[in-house]
């Protein structure tokens, strides 16, 4: 049974994931993924300070303090990078952990002072179960605002991330844009780390966009995949987390997202690991079968094939070969044609290497062993034309005519 409270939780998780994903697109495209990580950690002391100031009340003080501390952290990263020539990722690492440490110290202080810690401990790990309708409302407002702005400035986002110099020349106010994007990212992270936790918010900022990029190079499709996958992952995580209260929503969302992505990484028709493996395997089998056909054609070199030879089994299935009455494998007419086609490519290539590239006769065979599997029919035809349809290869073996 779905309780009203559960609906709020799931809605909150979904909005948080959506908000992070849409914000993450420009951050990911600008290759600033690590900055998102730094921000989420840097905001931590900001949120603690906000609790100190407001005496435990969450609200606009938290958001404001998140933006201020986050922007300060980014300013510090930029300054360290420019003044010391420490690379940007190095500077990011330093600032990230510095701010986090300050946050931990402040939190210890807070625990002693007796101010209720409500909300602060969730900043670290996140907990959706404590979501209030007012939090969900705040997330909804931010999501709506984020969507409208993203929709309106999408041209900028792509131009600026792809070629920032060009954007500058086209009159894009680059500094303002950077400032607004950082402030917005800090605001979004402040709003979401109470649900997902600091570390996992940063993950949810980047992972959906990375999945979108893996699946599409088309800006519109990338955006759609990013947003939809984030929402699905969050809804699933929200259900699980609500029914198993000991599980962190943030962690579950990230795991759900990974589980959503995983099949694509494996089964994607062109980029998937499995498909690449299958393609390689098929290619290897084709080479093996072509070599088997050649060996059958060239009876002098025939080894003793076992009946169960997998290559012969495959060839028999497509009736390239058959067993003769003596129980030996032989080529069918179709198999003979195929074998001659391969031999033709082999010998044409040998002729080409010898005649055109002036390679000595003795050293053309090895390379032709590879090329016979790679030349397509068009290349074969051009080769024959270029060599004036030779009838014999450099070893004086006949070149079978094209069928």
């Amino acid at each position: 049974m779905i309780s009203e409270h559960l609906v709020w939780i799931i809605l909150g998780c979904m909005l948080a994931a959506y908000l992070l994903a849409i914000t993450g697109i420009p951050v990911y495209l600008r290759r600033e993924s690590l900055t998102g990580d730094a921000l989420s950690h840097a905001i931590f002391p900001g949120v603690v300070v906000a609790v100190l100031i407001s005496g435990g009340q969450q609200g606009w003080v938290t958001y404001l303090s998140g933006i201020i501390v986050g922007s300060f952290a980014l300013f510090l990263i930029q300054t360290i990078h420019q003044k010391t020539l420490i690379p940007k990722d190095g500077a990011t690492g330093i600032v990230l952990i510095l701010f986090f440490a300050v946050g931990l110290l402040l939190m210890g202080r807070l625990q002693r002072s007796g101010i209720p810690l409500w909300g602060v401990q969730h900043v670290l790990l996140g907990k959706a179960a404590t979501l209030l309708p007012s939090d969900v409302f705040a997330l909804a407002v931010l999501s709506a605002l984020g969507s409208v702005v993203f929709f309106l400035v999408q041209k900028w986002i792509w131009i600026e991330a792809f070629d920032s110099k060009f954007a500058l020349h086209s009159g894009l106010p680059k500094n303002t844009y950077e400032l607004l994007l950082s402030a917005w990212t800090a605001l979004v992270l402040t709003a979401t780390i109470q649900i997902l936790g600091a570390v996992l918010s940063a993950a949810m900022l980047i992972t959906p966009a990375a999945l979108g990029h893996f699946l599409s190079n088309n800006p519109k499709k990338l955006t759609l995949i990013t947003l939809v996958s984030a929402c699905i992952a969050a809804v699933l995580a929200g259900f699980i987390s609500a029914s198993l209260p000991s599980m962190s929503t943030g962690a579950l969302t990230v795991i759900m997202l990974f589980m959503l992505s995983f099949p694509f990484f494996i089964f994607h028709p062109t980029k998937g690991i499995l498909m690449k493996w299958v393609a390689r395997k098929q290619e290897a089998r084709r080479w093996q079968d072509e070599n088997t056909l050649k060996q059958l054609l060239n009876q002098t070199k025939i080894p003793l094939f076992s009946i169960k030879n997998p290559s012969l089994q495959r060839l028999a299935k497509h009736s390239f070969v058959r067993l003769n009455p003596q129980g030996k494998w032989e080529l069918s007419p179709k198999g003979l044609e195929e074998a001659e086609r391969i031999v033709r490519k082999h010998r044409l290539w040998e002729t080409f290497l010898h005649k055109r590239l002036m390679l000595p006769v003795g050293s053309v065979h090895e390379n032709a062993e590879l090329m016979e599997h790679l030349l397509d029919d068009e290349a074969e035809e051009r080769l024959a034309l270029d060599l004036n349809h030779p009838s014999a290869d450099p070893h004086q073996s006949p070149i079978p005519p094209r069928k």
């Binding site: 309106l152 999408q154 041209k155 792809f162 086209s170 009159g171 979108g212 800006p219």
Partner: protein, 255 residues
Amino acid sequence: MIEVKNLNAGYGKRSALWNIDFSIPLPAFVGIIGPNGGGKSTLLKSILGELTPLTGSIRLFGKPIAEMKNRLAYVPQINSVDWNFPIRVMDVVLMGRFRPNSWGPFYSKSDREKAEFYLNAVGMLAFSKQQIGELSGGQRQRVFLARALAREADVLLLDEPLAGVDAGSGERILSLLSEYQKQGRSIVMVHHDLLTASTLFDHLVLLQTRLVAAGPIKEVFTLTNLQTAYGTDVSILSEMIHKLGQTPANLSDHP
């Protein structure tokens, strides 16, 4: 009018351009020529505002170039771009139609038509749906040229647009540039090939670290000037053209 006054520019302590002074009325088709190491690209970068001059100023239509950036178009260095970026050829060319005040999420129909026109002009329309990383170096160059053209800016700045482009497309691009210029726009272009330079441009800037000459092509493209720029051993033009592929060592490290 493009005005360069007392320009000294360079990288670190090494200065690549000394005391450059010239002005050329626009619209014009301006070629920047000179030997390797003569400061051609440095001048172009200075006009673009990518390189801050050590001294001097560059003014375009009477205003400092910093204020005129949106009236320039250029082709970026090919290695300054992330080729894995999720963007297709057409999206790149459409960028040329971007105007900061053109609010709205999408490009207009006429923007798309312009982008298609220039993509076709550089012979890359068939590739419009491909991701840019799938293109060869010369093809990428042409896509970026199409983007620069699509801006239809008052001044188009080009650094050897024909490098890495095959002869057929090269001719096509040159005639396209002439056409572009005839519509009242200007092109300032670093160029290597003296043979085509003599017929392509109407104004020339001849550089050899210092300014050798600048102005209408008839006044600049003289044997004396070319000898000053490229060295006295060059009496025959065709020989010069042949040698341009290599760095004349005695010229490039001029004091």
